[in-house]
Amino acid sequence: MPWKDGYTISGETSLLDSEVRWPGEQRCCFSITVDLSVASGPEGITEADLASPKTQFGLREGLDRVKDALDRFGLKATFATPAVMARVQAHTLRVLTQEGHEIAAEGFRHEDVSALSREDEAERINLTTSVLSDITGRRPEGWFSLPRQGDKFAGGTISPRTMDLLIDAGYAYFGNGLADDIPHYWVTDAASGRSILTMPYYYHYDDQFFLLFPSKGTGLEHADSLFRNWRAEFDAQYRRGRHFHMTLHPYASGFGHRIRLLETFLQYVSGSPGVWNETASAVIKHWRGLDPAPRLEPSIWRDYPGSLS
């Protein structure tokens, strides 16, 4: 890099546009995350979150509408699923798996793990992995920690140990990183190069931060702005030949005017030649061949009296 622990998670530079390649000489990658969590804040999914009309809408009609939209354009998505929601929606997960979508993990109850002990966090990862494996018949390859509307920051929460534990638990990738707009390595130990591939995420392409957000006030519905963000970023990434990624919540995007805008957008993307749409695990598999290891240079960081170390 120069690598600096506690400041950076990957190398000094990203891959150039010209270094990014997709299978079959396709021009741009397009990946979709559908967040099945209904957690409203850092404590994760509560009984109150589950016993709400918003959740009911998301579990039933919202999910049907989002799935219809994906089916209409033949698109695959990765469904980020907390263990709790996997139990609640076991049948749905089996159907999604059969249809070629990917089921990835998203915590036990999509809780903030940043203050947990290593043992507690490891136990939650192991339990979640086995709940998802039992229901879908295959081990999840990806782990997500997407932000919730009530979080302080819109990036998702992890602990300083999460990435290390995910590597130990055999995960192939982490689902939502913000340090790049293409897959990249999250390095946990610069000396050994120990790392986990990370899929890009950015809150500007996540429906929950535009649709009645924040939760109280007036004039908080910005579906038009969300749509313009999707389209402008897709255009820019398509021109560069990189990667466009969007995050959907069925309770949000499955409603009325919003689903129409989503369909308009998916139609626009599908009409663009050379778009490679795949699940996150397929994208990661491709990436491992293209970019097999993090590119790090030794740290030139020094400690000075009177400065942060």
């Binding site: 400041y7 950076t8 913000l178 400065s307």
Partner: protein, 289 residues
Amino acid sequence: MTSVLERELTALTSAARRYDARHRRISRIAWPEGKRMAVNFTADFDAMLLRRLLNEPPMQLAKGEFGGRVGIWRLIALFDSHGIKATIFTPGRIRELYPQALRAAHASGHEIADHMWEHHVPRDMQLELDHLQKTGAALSSIIGRTPVGTRSDHSLSLLKQEGFIYTSHECADHLPYYLSDADNQNEMLNLPFHYAIDDAMFYSFAWLGSGNAAQRITDTDRVFDMWWEAFLQQYHAGGYLNVCLHPFVSGRAQRIDMLDRLITRMKAMPGVWMPTCETVARHCLAVHP
């Protein structure tokens, strides 16, 4: 009672006058021959340093890291493609995190200027001077001399002492103006930037510690329209515009495209001058001392 109110009136009036006296405005700037306005594109390149200083969690650091891995390179390429010379305000510590990007920016003719040592100004003046000098040394290892501009609240007395000729950190007027410290000393040129022409105000979730209820992140079409109107107003006034960008914010692909459209449209107007802040500052100092 009346005498109490009279004292308040005197005190408040005097506070306003004291503050006013610290500012020396330039009523109209004579730009170089053939130029009717100046536009400075500035990038505050602190990547994750401010996030780290505020002890924000890992994903926030990663969000800032985008600026160093990706965003700064795209901004340099954008400015180069338009022949614009921009000013990169950077904390001295960035030299130890992203030296390649700083070298590339310098090689393209962009100005590298001070943005504090680690994105804060220590209260202790001795340590403040130490930070200023550390940044000077770190940046001179890239640019071959100490920086002459800053975007910070560094004491004007120390800035003067260290050879700075301008600062760029507040907007008490559309045009560049002279600013003095609280003792009416150490006058220095300020190149004003307004928070409405700052990318982070529109796109950066939880900017400056703001809570969820304060977030209305928006899209590039809206920002394009606002910034174009701000430019046009100053174009017709023969004035000045400072566009404040952050590589971790504006380095996102769609925002680079928006800036590309905005710059193309600005350049189509005759007489728009887009040099570094240092060039604008030296012009103002020479023509309006």
